[in-house]
Subunit: 149 residues, 2 copies
């Protein structure tokens, strides 16, 4: 019984948020409960697990996370002995971040959870839907549209 013809449920920013939130929930519980991690932290962890040693800026560029988020995530991961930091010899502003064995163990564990979770999510979708979804999401993630007035 809407009073006009706008469809909120199809408005992409709204729909994307709902889907993102719902689909993040179960995974969030895993890394939160098992490792006391925040969203920012598992992202940093995964980047280091996947790409090996990285600097904060590199992670920021790739994950599109603001540097303050990364700074705090790294601080917490360091306190928990999951990440070590090492100053660059040539440029002492730069820090190289690396997973400790504890961090790598957490990454390996969470990655396997992520893989199984992904499979469960995709199980609801047809192959075509999944393919189109990934392509469309990839495009939308890059979009940087002008402001509307």
């Amino acid at each position: 019984m809407p009073t006009d013809n706008f469809e909120l449920e199809k408005f992409l920013p709204y729909l994307l948020n709902q889907a993102a939130e719902a689909s993040s929930l179960a995974f969030e519980r895993s890394y939160k409960a098992k490792y006391g991690m925040l969203r920012t932290e598992w992202r940093v962890l995964f980047h280091l697990g996947l790409y090996g040693s990285m600097t904060a800026s590199e992670i920021g560029g790739r994950a599109k996370m603001h540097k303050t988020k990364i700074s705090r995530a790294v601080q917490r991961l360091t306190e928990r002995r999951m990440v070590t930091r090492e100053r660059d010899i040539d440029d002492r502003r730069v820090e190289h971040l690396t997973l400790t064995s504890k961090g790598r163990a957490a990454y390996t564990d969470l990655r396997s959870i992520a893989e199984r979770y992904e499979a469960a999510l995709v199980a609801d979708l047809s192959a075509d839907e999944t393919r189109a979804l990934r392509i469309a999401l990839g495009k939308l993630a890059e979009v940087k549209p002008a402001v509307f007035t």
Copy 2:
């Protein structure tokens, strides 16, 4: 140069978040700059604009927003004279929320921005992609998967 074969860029919770954030940005600037609204507030505004008078619980159920978020959003919208509250006669716990003319004007304006913005977002996508995207997102928004360990 990943060190293993997990694809973070295809992991749905991650990808969805990126897409949701990127695609919300421009619209967020509109309602923030023009009306000083928060995400929670435009959502409440749109529900009232679309469905007419609603209670906080009804909005919560439909938008999957926690009741404290709604309570505070309604409070701010009321302070700005965009929403009025009226106690239910039969059940005095319940409040019926309605847009004022000022609220309705803001809704109409923002809805038209939303429509144009949606068109700009979808312009990057093929018709098939768009259709599959909406269907897939709709399913994912409903998904409530078991916790993985």
